[in-house]
């Protein structure tokens, strides 16, 4: 497998060609697996009219790390597709929420499993699927449902992506990825759904073949660009969860 390396020297270079209007998904669930460094580079890059896909819009924890809310504050976002437009605790206010409530940014609120499956479907060539999730709720109003074997299901469409930002523990030069613990979360499905997947990697990029093929979580065919995360303070790393500022 002769392959020129996918490794780039920096995050700026990795996001340099992202045009205005792109649809970009960010992996991550709480701190683990969030591509903080790529999000920071996108903030500096300044692409606008973006549609962003992620579980949350961020800002619920301290210290605040680069998140969708910051891209919104920076005027780069048209629409967000996520499982939370508001915090779980009604008393908490996410930085994103006022922008959404005032209509400055659109949002599509999607159940978390449906969000993951819509990206999985996009990567797997399934244009749409039926799920029991959200049947009978406000989200299903006016939408297509179908009764299969006596149970009602809601039609959901695949969610293809222009770019996917992911974070993994290890990569080889071919782009094969290995995650550590709950760093995995949405990252493998995002990689399959994106036309261009950019991965930030915790450890030095290994030569192709250094990760046993049986131990690879995301095949390198889905990964197009790799950047190693430098140590702090140049690189951003997950921190210990802090109580929210009151």
């Amino acid at each position: 497998m002769a392959q020129k390396t996918k490794q780039l020297s920096g995050f700026r270079e990795a996001v340099a060609d992202i045009p205005d209007g792109s649809t970009i998904a960010f992996g991550g669930f709480a701190m683990p697996g969030v591509p903080f460094n790529l999000i920071k580079a996108l903030l500096e890059h300044g692409a606008k009219q973006l549609t962003l896909v992620a579980n949350t819009t961020g800002g619920a924890q301290q210290p605040r790390m680069p998140d969708i809310g910051m891209l919104v504050e920076n005027g780069q976002v048209k629409k967000v597709i996520c499982a939370f437009t508001a915090a779980t605790r009604p008393t908490d206010v996410l930085p994103f929420t006022p922008y959404y409530e005032s209509g400055q940014v659109e949002a599509e609120l999607v159940p978390q499993g449906t969000l993951a499956e819509r990206m999985r479907a996009a990567g797997a060539g399934i244009p749409a699927f039926y799920t029991p999730t959200a049947v009978g709720t406000e989200l299903a109003e006016g939408r297509e449902t179908r009764v299969i074997n006596g149970r009602e299901y809601l039609l959901e469409y695949a969610l293809p992506l222009d770019y996917g930002f992911v974070r993994a523990r290890q990569a080889d030069a071919f782009g094969n990825l290995r995650f550590h613990r709950s760093q995995r979360n949405f990252n493998p499905v995002i990689a399959t759904a994106a036309r261009c997947t950019i991965a930030e990697i915790d450890e030095p990029i290994l030569p192709a073949g250094a990760i046993d093929p049986d131990d690879i979580h995301t095949a390198g065919i889905y990964v197009h660009r790799l950047v190693q995360v430098p140590p702090e303070p140049d690189g951003l790393w997950p921190t210990k969860r802090q109580e929210r500022r009151r």
Binding site: A83, G136, T239, K240
Partner: protein, 224 residues
């Protein structure tokens, strides 16, 4: 939660945890439900599943020993029990949608007499916080709810009909509040166990629908 009658948050969680059977795969929601994992339920082995794909997590990691890339659904740094596995998000929700979760425990704003419940959006709010709640509610084999019996202004949370947007319909089979243990019956709620210091009449006055009382009503069973 100060000034409320009856059980503490941990006691409500304890009561629900006593329902767990050996070998069950259980998903605990953020907040009070998380406390179910503290309950001593003897030698029953429970496999805790978290939305982010962790199957078989254990207690919160001791200070200084956290793996910052290992969290539960609430973002807390947890540990893994022997036999744990990690899958990606689509597979994790395959576990949920595929009917492999024996029980999910969630908080809620309201539960209706027909087993509907609401926990993702407040009245008049634009958007909300769904997370994995709708997938779990629609697909877990059992949906258990823990909530304070009344709102801050004293209104019932066990209601005839949810007036908040629902998370799923007709799925709740067991509700633990600080006043007692209940089952939605269609017409109302059946009181199975009563918390210390409460009377049936008192509970009836703050419960929607028809309150029936189980034969041989018992005091609330508590752990330990």
């Amino acid at each position: 939660m100060s000034g409320t009658k009856g059980l503490t948050r941990q006691q409500m969680a304890d009561r629900v945890a006593l329902e767990f059977q050996d070998g069950w795969i259980v998903n605990l929601g953020v907040g009070i439900p998380t406390l179910c994992s503290n309950t001593d339920i003897g030698n029953r082995d429970i496999i805790y599943h978290s939305e982010n794909g962790v199957i078989g997590y254990g207690p919160i990691a001791p200070a200084g020993e956290e793996d910052l890339n290992l969290v539960n659904a609430g973002g807390q740094n947890v540990t893994l029990r022997p036999g744990a596995a990690v899958v990606h998000h689509a597979d994790s929700f395959g576990v949920i949608r595929g009917g492999h979760i024996d029980a999910t425990v969630m908080g809620a704003y309201q539960v209706s007499r027909t087993g509907d419940f609401a926990n993702w959006k407040l009245k008049g709010q634009k958007g909300g916080g769904i997370g994995g709640a709708m997938d779990l509610a629609a697909c877990a084999r059992r949906v258990f709810i823990i909530l304070e019996h009344v709102t801050r202004d004293g209104s019932p949370r066990l209601v005839e009909q949810c007036d908040l947007p629902v998370t799923a319909r007709g799925v709740v089979t067991l509700v633990a509040t600080n006043y007692g243990l209940f089952e939605p019956t269609g017409e109302g709620f059946r009181l199975r166990e009563i918390a210390p210091g409460l009377t049936v009449d008192e509970i009836r006055s703050v419960t929607g629908g028809t309150l029936t009382v189980a034969d041989g009503l018992k005091p609330m069973q508590l752990a330990g």
